[in-house]
């Protein structure tokens, strides 16, 4: 009997734990952070004998910026730029690079900052809002290789790791990629180009989806429409966009919407015109990895402000083209009440203010140049307000008492450049 009790005790000791032991708790390590974009941006610099440009930095706080230009794996220049009390700084391309095409990596001292370039020359006027890092698939919308127009894909890798990206394209004939673009290696601190007019010729509207396989790049296309040089930066696709519709005499305005979605995406365009909102001025279904073009100039009532709503990720480009040249800029990701607008301020500069709502806006233009003139503009609700900027400054900070959408342009006899400002955090 004693043995039986002992055996029972042993059995209980060895098996009892199973009865009372708690369910094993699977403790996952804390989920990894989704890395955000650092306070930095990349600008393409094209410097040749016929054109020069200026890189302009705008910052919400006084903090030094650092500009590093790398090429072929090495650092061409590395310089700190002092952002003055007005919140701006500008550097000529010639101070950063000795010529040709290079990528400038701009590190901001604070998160509320942005950069843009404006270049002028015989090839036309170009305005580029320098994009910050996009870690996932990005889209470039609004390119064209029709009429044998040159178009070049620019991939800039300012980082310490080699990058490999896949580029898919779509045009009016649907998704149509080139094998040569399926895996493009971009070495660290290097810029790589691909001639799209050769690889994807005769596309009236060409959109690109750039997917990083390893490493990261900043992507642009550079072309020439009607003799006017145009540079389009990549954007992070999303489902809602808003943009003012700038008006240039003799020029057509159109929206190009592309998607990298593997399924169809329905889009609807609502428009404000003369303070009146018209919902669904345009609706369409974009085929998978396709695009759609909306000729705004063909509308009976010209739109002042357009809002694009989609049920999938899309990128929206505002295209202005005509005899005076061509300009392309991404739309705004949403209305904001505070914007950093480096770049405009020289001759031919205009800020295009749209007020997508029912409340009038009073917009304060604060010069980014020390001693520059600041002023205030009234922008009625649901209308487009063009504000000429002739103050010979390097840009502005815009503060509005209600959300607005903004594009800016520079133009002269050689062409037009169109750019989008940078929204300040918390300014929604």
């Amino acid at each position: 009997m004693k043995r039986v009790l002992l055996a029972l005790a042993v059995a209980v000791a060895l098996t009892g734990g199973w009865l009372v032991a708690p369910e094993p708790v699977i403790v996952d390590d804390a989920p990894g952070l989704e890395p955000a974009a650092a306070a930095a941006a990349v600008c393409p610099l094209r410097l040749d004998r016929t054109s020069d440009g200026k890189l302009t930095i705008a910052s919400s706080l006084i903090a030094p910026a650092r500009i590093t230009v790398g090429n072929a794996g090495s650092i061409l220049s590395d310089q700190s730029v002092l952002v003055d009390d007005a919140g701006g700084a500008a550097v000529l391309f010639g101070e950063l690079t000795i010529g040709g095409l290079a990528g400038a990596f701009v590190e901001f001292g604070v998160t509320g900052a942005g950069a843009a370039t404006v270049s002028r020359g015989e090839a036309g006027v170009t305005a580029v809002s320098c994009p910050s890092l996009i870690r996932t698939t990005s889209l470039i919308t609004g390119g064209s290789t029709r009429n044998a127009e040159p178009l070049e894909l620019i991939l800039i890798n300012p980082y310490g790791s080699d990058a490999v990206v896949s580029v898919e394209s779509s045009s009016e004939i649907g998704a149509d990629s080139a094998e040569e673009l399926s895996s493009v290696v971009v070495p660290a601190r290097s810029t790589v180009t691909r001639d799209l007019s050769t690889l994807l010729p005769l596309r009236s509207r060409l959109s690109l989806a750039i997917t990083p396989i390893r490493g990261l790049v900043h992507a642009f296309v550079e072309g020439s429409g009607g003799g006017d040089r145009v540079v389009i930066e990549h954007v992070d696709p999303r489902s809602e966009w808003v943009t003012p519709v700038p008006r240039f005499e003799g020029q057509q305005a159109l929206l190009v919407i592309s998607t990298n979605s593997p399924v169809e995406v329905s889009v609807r365009v609502d428009g404000w015109s003369g303070g009146v909102l018209t919902e669904g001025v345009f609706s369409a279904v974009i085929p998978p990895r396709g695009q759609v073009e909306i000729p705004l100039s063909d509308f009976e009532i010209p739109l002042d402000v357009a809002q694009i709503l989609a049920d999938g990720p899309v990128a929206v480009a505002m295209v202005v083209e005509g005899d005076a040249g061509r300009a392309v800029s991404p739309a705004n990701a949403g209305p904001h009440s505070e914007w950093l607008m480096p770049g405009p301020g020289s001759a031919g500069s205009v800020a295009w203010i749209g007020v997508p709502g029912e409340v009038d806006a009073i917009v304060e233009f604060l010069s980014l140049s020390a001693g520059g003139q600041s002023f205030t503009v009234d922008a009625p609700a649901g209308t487009l307000t063009a504000v000429p900027l002739e103050g010979q400054v390097i840009g502005y900070t815009l503060r509005s008492d209600s959300p607005i959408t903004v594009l800016w342009s520079v133009s002269d006899e050689t062409g037009i450049g169109l750019g989008a400002p940078t929204p300040l955090p918390g300014g929604e």
């Binding site: 043995r3 039986v4 002992l6 055996a7 005790a9 042993v10 059995a11 000791a13 060895l14 098996t15 009892g16 734990g17 032991a21 708690p22 094993p24 390590d29 804390a30 989920p31 990894g32 952070l33 890395p35 955000a36 974009a37 650092a38 306070a39 930095a40 590093t68 990596f105 590190e107 890092l133 870690r135 300012p158 980082y159 310490g160 790791s161 080699d162 990058a163 660290a188 601190r189 990083p212 390893r214 490493g215 990261l216």
Partner: protein, 920 residues
Amino acid sequence: MSEHPDTELLSTAPDQRIRVAVLAVDDDGLAATLAAIDRQVYAIEGVTIIDRDGDISDAGDHLVVEDFAAFVNDLGPETDLVWIVHGDAQPRPDALGALVAEMARSDASLVGSKIVDAVTLDRLESVGSATDVFGEPYSGLDPDEVDLEQYDVVRDVAFVSAVSMLVRRDLVRGLRGIDPLMPPVAAGLDFSQRARVAGGRVMVAPSSEVLHERTCRHDVAGWREWAGRMRSMLKVYRLITLAWVVPIGTVLGFVDGVVRLLLGTTRPLTDFFQSLAWNVVHLPGSLTARNAVRSVRQVGDEELFRYQVTGSVRMRLLATDIAERFGWVIDDEPGVVTEEELEDDSTAAGPVVAALGLITVALATRSFWAGALPQSGFTLRIADPLVALNGFAGGWNPAGLGSSEPVHPSAALFAALEWITGGWGGTMRIAIAALLVTALVAAGRLLREVGVTGPTRHLAGVVGVIGMATAAFATDADLASWLALGPTLAAIALAVMPWPSATFGRLGRVGGLVVASAVAGALAPGASVVILVTCIALWLLVPGLRRGVAARGLLAADIAVLVTAPYLSAVTVDELTETGPAYDLMPALLPAVLLVVAAVLGTLFLADRRHRIPVVGGILVALGVWFPVFESPRGDLGATFALFAAVGVVLVTGAVIGLDRDGSHTVVGGRAVAASAAALLVLLSLNHVVDGRAGFPADQWTERLVFTESLGAEIASSRVLVVGDPGQLPGEHMSTAGFAYRVVPVDGPSLESARLGQPRLGDDALADLVASIAGGELVRPGEEFAEFGIGWVAVVDDPAFSAAMAAQVDMDEVPVSEGLTVFLNSVPAPRAVTESGSVWEADGARFVGLAASETVRIADNASPRWGPGWEQDDWANRVSAADGVAVYKPNSLRRILAWAGVGVFVLGLAFLPFSRRSDQ
């Protein structure tokens, strides 16, 4: 003793004129020898006494000469044969006649007698021998083998004993007699070999029997025989044979000496060196003798080879001795055989089963002792023994960003071994092998002491070492705690063994307890608890064990605590329970069920007190497995539970695995099922034979960071940040933002740096930095890493962190290998640098550099013990550079405790030999 047909031999003996040469030893022996010669039936011409020492006072009327050469010179044609006889031999009356008859019958040139011990009168000393090629005699006789005429066959042999041999006169003259420098056995070998190469036939005639007093050997050192054999080789072998025989023989002699030294016998090694030195000194004489042999040589070395055995006799004897020693270690105290054991036929099977177990474990752990240590988890090499020892004894711990916390005692133990052996690469391997063997042996001894005597008990050690309990240690590759099983079992066994009655025995036992518990405690500080609890449980539950078992268990536990006092006195409870390796203590279902079956049925059906062993084992397993279920402890507490489980598994398995057929069908059946369950546990353990790592992870870190040497020659950095899957990182890691990481030295992870301890200021700052990178907020991490002395970031199979690192500009990604993404910091990252940029180098546990009137920043966690002129620099240290050296002032108390532990351990070692002395 055998009898011989003397009369028959006499009738066939031819008429030969024989002179006897008696090699005098002493007066007493000589008289008996001369008397025996006088009694010879066969007629002799005369007797010459060769008195080399000149100490013979009573030679009667026989001629006395000083050496053999004089005797040879005096030999005239009136002599046909020479009978050489030792002065301590007593030939039987027919001995000479038998020699003469066999010589004539076989046309031999040299015939030797059968030599029998004159004291016992029946123990064989020689009936002719073979040798190996190195001259080592191989008689085939067992020690003290009785003469039952089993070797009475006339045959050709390699050599005959010089105690009694009959040789042709011309051969004696040609060979110039016996070499006077040779000791007795070697002299016979030498003369026989020279006779054979001179074309003579060497035979033994067992019918010629000679009793031998062996007085001739009394004053001859053992090494002289070795030296004589070597001289004989030098004299007779051709050069081409010597070219390989001498070097190989030298190596074998050295190996034999070293191995026997490890077995506790110093003499073979000293004999080896003495014989070597003797031959060097006598080389000229050997060469002269060699020339003499060349003048009479008739046949080649092949004729010698015909009578030699293959291989090395010395190595055979060594193997035999090891096997015998192994059998002794496994089962018995030396020289003690009880009546019970004599009746127990299992004692013969014990060594065999133990050997099988040893082979199994050896195969299953071959990666640890047969090659480079497979480094992963907490199985790591010692990088700098002195730094490790210093860190244990109150000095700076270099792990991670450094701390004042002590290095783990297991690292200190291995570091001490490395230091003692001068950094010899095989130290860890030998230590591992020794500890594994200890586990097997100790398991068998422990089970025997608690009443389990069957040979299969030795298999319990196999289950303990590579069985179900091993999985817990293998979770994070905690090699040290796993190896602690051996000394833990040894300490328990020593505590359970009966307390010796003799003082020396007690001293020896205490010594053994101290050594075993100290090693166990150093490897796993929690072993002290395991030893104490197990001893108490055995004392309480197993009949026949006295209170002293618990007392000795307490002593062992105290010793284990004492040697680890520098560590235990400094770490917090959290560090003992929450840092360090993890242990997956939950057994797999099948082994768990088998263990339960074995324990329950063993408790029910095992005979006498043995049924209590599974009870104790079951309790220990339950303690080890179920308590941690609620907390999943890590580190030393986790290792303690794992050790409990392992010791319990050994006890359960060992108790039930043998099959006892006494009892009813039910009882025998129950035991059979229990034994089968235990046998299955053994079989399940065999799966590790395939991987050879006992289930431990494969090597992950040997030379994995070697790129820092080839690619980082220009970089003054000393640290690598390793980021990756926690299971892939070496040692302990930290986590932030979902990423596991740790800092390791550029020359790779090490055991002394495996444990990181509690996070400090620098660790927190580094965590923030890693989180910033992970969050994508930092584009210049290189500048930040340089502050930590980190020159490299190595990402192991962690695409997410690699992706985060893709958006930075001051660390260059370097292609190294698949699964390893490496970033090289473009910013110089020295660990210690002055304000003016002068880099200071680490020199052991300190930093040295150019003396200057400025300060040097040391990128280690801040500690005011750094000096001179310490001040805190954020999380780091800043000290004066005036002396050109920065040092850390060690903790005095911990240093004293460490020396106390060393003292106790050395004392234990000193007592250890008494255990053997008490048994003799």
